[in-house]
Symmetry: C2
Subunit: 329 residues, 2 copies
């Protein structure tokens, strides 16, 4: 069996995570890395792998079975994934939920026209959490969905803090509210407001002489990011931030609370949760598993845009159907 040759486009946190994830999946191998920077400025963790310029990728169309697009989700992927789907079978982790239908249409057109397979929005949310929601909805149609995120670092909210006047550095944790989760687990099917579901906890390094009260007020009242939440602000030193808050953990919980029975008298709870030390490394592990499914679809010439909802779970595994039925069913 020849290995699945994976190309990485974009060599930030995600690209580096894919490179490591390939090492844990012996049926895959790294084919190349591509970047929009000067390729000679990029040093890989893996020996003897070529680094190409993004604009030269057409010349390397036959060098990878699947390309994992590791650009920034908000601005890079809407452009890069359709572009790359003209040349390769691709996977991305596009995560702007509201714009998924538009991204799907663009990528689907490019992939179908060129005869490639393209899988979008792969990761944990969207991705594994979406699967948990879908399975939960289908199995407990009389029910209600709950998604809680955290405890974990929100990059967008951390960036927002750092833009506040007088702030030198900062990190924001999204914290799910335990009492709300417990109410769901008891089968109460509560209606929860934004404020009742998550707390926002900020660790902030102020610039010398900055007005701490004003910083705290500016954070807590920031529209969209913080104003609908209870927010806690801790002022700490740069040393403390570097020492205690360097990681990028995340996680969360998808719950489906439902009922069955002649009088809906039986309660059921399905709960799917993740506790991740490294958000990008977990995401890239998911990407590599779904790259395996992309290679499988490509062999079947089942082209066009796909999502995690379209993938038979067996396609994610290097094991045969016989092995899966004997050992995992």
């Amino acid at each position: 069996m020849s290995k699945i040759r994976i190309g990485i486009v974009g060599y930030g946190n995600l690209g580096k995570g894919v490179e490591l994830a390939i090492r844990s999946n012996p049926d895959t191998e790294l084919a190349f890395v591509a970047t929009r920077r000067d390729p000679s400025s990029v040093t890989l963790k893996t020996a003897n792998i070529p680094v190409y310029q993004y604009n030269d990728l057409a010349a390397h169309q036959n060098d990878a079975d699947v390309v994992i697009v590791c650009g920034g989700s908000a601005t890079d992927l809407p452009k890069q994934t359709p572009e790359l789907a003209k040349l390769f079978n691709v996977v991305d982790s596009f995560d702007t939920h509201a714009r998924i239908p538009e991204h799907f249409a663009n990528v689907d057109a490019a992939a179908k026209a060129s005869g490639h397979v393209a899988m979008i929005s792969v990761g944990w949310d969207p991705g594994m959490f979406s699967l948990a929601r879908l399975y939960g909805n289908c199995i407990l149609p009389d029910g209600k969905d709950y998604t809680f995120w955290g405890k974990g670092v929100s990059q967008g909210h951390s960036d927002a803090i750092r833009r506040v006047e007088g702030v030198q550095d900062g990190k924001q944790y999204t914290v799910p509210i335990e009492s709300a989760m417990e109410a769901v687990r008891r089968g109460e099917q509560p209606e929860l407001t934004t404020r009742q579901k998550h707390l926002r906890e900020c660790y902030v390094v102020a610039k010398p002489g900055a007005d701490l009260n004003k910083i705290e007020h500016d954070i807590k009242t920031m529209p969209n990011y913080f104003d609908e939440y209870d927010t806690v602000v801790h002022f700490i030193s740069q040393e403390e931030l570097n020492r205690d808050h360097a990681g990028i953990p995340h996680g969360g919980f998808v719950m489906r609370s439902g009922v069955s029975g002649e009088n809906k008298e039986h309660k059921h709870l399905i709960e799917y949760s993740l506790k991740l030390d490294s958000n990008p490394e977990f995401t890239t592990n998911v990407l590599v598993a779904f790259a395996r499914a992309v290679a499988r679809f490509a062999k079947e010439q089942n082209t066009g845009c796909k999502t995690v909802f379209d993938v038979p779970p067996a396609y994610l595994s290097p094991l045969s159907g016989d092995e899966l039925r004997a050992h995992m069913l």
Copy 2:
């Protein structure tokens, strides 16, 4: 859109659960119930639905799009599912893990020869727990699996208690051991013995004048069922058993503990859990969702035996791909 017509074969706990689950899935309808008993002795919860004799089913081959086989797993399904796959598209909940490959082969041969779709081992374990194990293994290849069952009623162990001399009635709960689960959640990847994972808790009604010490000893030392576990025996009255232990709750936890990173320094935990007031009603909700996938495979003429591993999750839903991407991804 015409509804998916579902036939039920076997009208015990599972058959009755399917009948109720159909009410919660408006794109499905009950076509008939079949039984090996005298059909006139069976009273359904649903009006105007025919009850057929099992042996007469060949005459009703065109009356159902999918038949859900609700016989006993150990003895009925190995015979009935291949028989019925000659006449219908079928789903069963065959749950003897060790015999799945053999059952798969028998059902596959019958389904392929007659051009039907047959899905086996659908439920929660095997079923949803198998899916959790498969997804977890594919996403965290550097890791370890843990399955804990309970707290819930084990029918097999309850039957075993009731066969003990001097026992009038009894019920056995399988209880997962919290400290073991916590060790897994901390990422310790412990090696756990049978005894360290589950406790067996028995509620026993003794016959008048029976030797309680002997009953307790006979239960605790029973090979296969209890001897490898720590077992707790509570003697209670028949009234207490009827009042406090009438339900058939169950549930459990599938955990995948894995690592990533250049030096495997990042720990990740995936946890999937179920808390079910009614084991059979939850199982039948799963069966009806997968019956929808069977109908879809049948339309595609994708025949033969399938398991939950072969089903694209979107096939479980009555919603379109567009709707799923817009609202659930």
